[in-house]
Amino acid sequence: MSLLHLAIIAPFIIAIFVPFFYKYIKGVHTGWFVLPLPILLFVYFISFISSTSNKQTITESFSWISSLGIDFTVKVDGLGLLFALLITGIGSLVVLYSIYYLSKNTEKLNTFYVYLLLFMGAMLGVVLSDNLIVLYAFWELTSFSSFLLIGYWYDREKSRYGAQKSMIITVLGGLAMLGGIILLYLMTGTFSITEIIAQSDAIINHPLFVPALLCILLGAFTKSAQFPFHIWLPDAMEAPTPVSAYLHSATMVKAGIYLVARMSPVFAEHALWVWLIAGFGLVTLFWGSFSAVKQTDLKSILAFSTVSQLGLIMSLLGIGAAALHFDELNPAIFTVATTAAVFHLINHATFKGSLFMVVGIVDHETGTRDIRKLGGLMNFMPITFTIAIIGAFSMAGLPPFNGFLSKEMFFTGMLSVLEMDFNWGILIPIIAWIASVFTFIYSMILVFKTFTGKYQPEKLEKKPHEAPIGMLISPIILASLVIIFGFFPNILSSSVLVPALETIMPGFSFDVKISFWHGVNEELLMTIGVILVGVILYFTLSKWRGVYGLFPEKLALNRFYDNSLDWMQKGSYGITNAYMTGSIRNYLAYMFTFIIIILAATLFGKDAFAFSTENVAQIEFFEVLLSLIIAIASIAILFTKSRITSIILTGTIGYIVSLFFVIFRAPDLALTQLVIETISVSLFLLCFYHLPKKLTEDPLSFKVRNAIISVGVGAVVTLIALSAHSNKLFDSISQYYIENTYTEAAGKNMVNVILVDFRGFDTMFEIAVLGIAALGIFSLIKLRKNGGKKVEDK
């Protein structure tokens, strides 16, 4: 176990101690005890930058289940390090923010920080694991801790709904991913990502390649809230705002992005990978930005915005992967898209984190997040307003913030599709451009509807004022990063971007130089177009807002999700109620029908009808007559009108059976059968006394179904008996008993010697059965609620 392992495990260890801090140190906010950990981890991971920028990867292995090829292998390369820095860096800021956001007195801080630390450790595990099974384990842990955090205020109905929904969707994807991992294992024989990448050329034509690809992508799409699985993310906004900022903008939703980036070297040769990712990313981008405009809740706007931006990153990764797929084109055209994806990943984490924190501050200081109630907060919260402006402008892609740079690169990437020379290629930049217009509109709504316009004090619960300084530190840091990365993007390029890019696309050389001004080109014109059209549409918002009303609510994906859950539940109830009637008759009918079907099918399938009349004994006439008696009595039972006649007939059958035992030379059986039959008949008579008096004794009613089933069972069993008799494969082993009954066991009665000597164990447990039956009858009769007394005695 190396220091790297310890870095991943550390959050789990601290999580154990959080409840003790909470319980025994009441005076200090528990968050202060948590805060040093992510900062330490951040500093620790910073120290890896020098080695990863020299194209070194650090691998540490810890044996876990080596016999199954599952080892806790940690690998730090460019991509993993980028995510680790995001997780720990934003994690520190979120913990700091949450200290001021969550009250020490009213919130259950112990659970909050335990869940948050679980999540942090799980997320570090996801991005640094080299073993796919370990990665999956951490992946499920992120789903699980996210579930706990969304349902943090578990007394609210909507929190529980959101938590359940996100759990169902992300676990669905997680399980699909596990399937993909196992398929990869079947193809390559290893769980190690490094080794799988090394074999990527060999597996592309494997028949399991496409299923594995689809399964892995399903996992990535559900986690990263891609269309149509994005529906859980807006409902996850019921979580506390620090959680939304951390999980649902900066880290967890990027786990899918991470997975796609990580698996690109394996799958990107295949065209399906390129087009699925690019296609779903674009649809998500458009649908997210389109839906964000109609939201009235600030966090919902940000949620849809996150969906849209994740789609943007995903589509860029898809187009970047085209560099691996299309060999004949110049790969440098497409690698720009990958660069844009990774760069925007960082940018999005910074500005979206700050925006969530801003929304949290607004919520905290005014008591509402509804933009219809908010307005004119600029004068009350100047600092928050400034941060919001920076974040929103960066999100909209305006200069001089970092969003502008990644948006320009995004357009470059989208325009590169035109190089691929296929008919509908022009649509892709157009969709991307329209989505950018919507992005611009909702970014403006977010800032200007909240902070400018008319101040409506009567609608607010509290008198708004500026947030405490502690709450502002984290968003200020993030907003400064937005500006720093905006003005000096190249401090990231060689240290973080290039190593990450080289991990995603091994074998390509990257020389990332990001600059604000690269002449008047198509991208700049597109950005100017976005701003112009966006401004016009923003000011005419009230005129075209009705377009959202045109979209039928019935077709909404949420409605579909809710209905399908409902259908599944009702369908399951329906199926269960249809066959679980509670009537034993029906269950017996199912059982016997299945017995008939299975046995008859086997008989016909195996062609077992080889009846032979060899070894058949001579039939005596009186035996025929006795059989006739049994047959007549059996049939007569079915048609008797009174129960007592049935009992007498049953007794008759029993006695004739004992007579058969005599004829077939089994004296012990005959004796036992006689006694047992007499006792059984007496017991039946005993039961008779307790039957309700008024009951009319109807003969059995005739049902065709029952008749068919009973005749079928009889026929099948007869056929099997005949078939078994005709297909005797071995001689009987009875010769041994005949020879050894007297010599070995000192007995002349062979049946009794077998019962108590050769196979005495069976006898012992049959004695036990009788004992249990006797005790059971005794307790059934005696141990009653009224102490075994008769009811009349009361």
Partner: protein, 94 residues
């Protein structure tokens, strides 16, 4: 010779049992059926004895004795049920 006689006797007893079965099924009253069952028991005893002769064995003599007792007990149980509706009474004084 003896085998043939035994065989004919067996057939006769079997025919008798079938006719008794007719009485068991047909009734018309419950005592008819019970008496028929008792007579069936006696016939079974006869048949066991005949089978013993036919097989030349005395292994089934216990069966004859036991059946003598059981047929009696069974008939008594039925009779008591007919008379009182109960076989085993808790109240010993009635």
């Amino acid at each position: 010779m003896i085998q043939t006689v035994v065989y004919i006797a067996l057939i006769c007893v079997a025919v008798a049992m079938i006719t008794l079965l007719y009485r068991v099924i047909k009734g018309p009253t419950l005592p008819d059926r019970i008496v028929a069952l008792d007579a069936l028991g006696v016939n079974i005893v006869a048949m066991v004895a005949l089978v013993c002769i036919a097989l030349d064995t005395n292994a089934f003599l216990e069966v004859i004795l036991l059946f003598g007792i059981l047929a009696f007990i069974g008939t008594v149980a039925f009779s008591k049920y007919l008379e009182k509706g109960v076989i085993i009474e808790n109240d010993r004084n009635s």
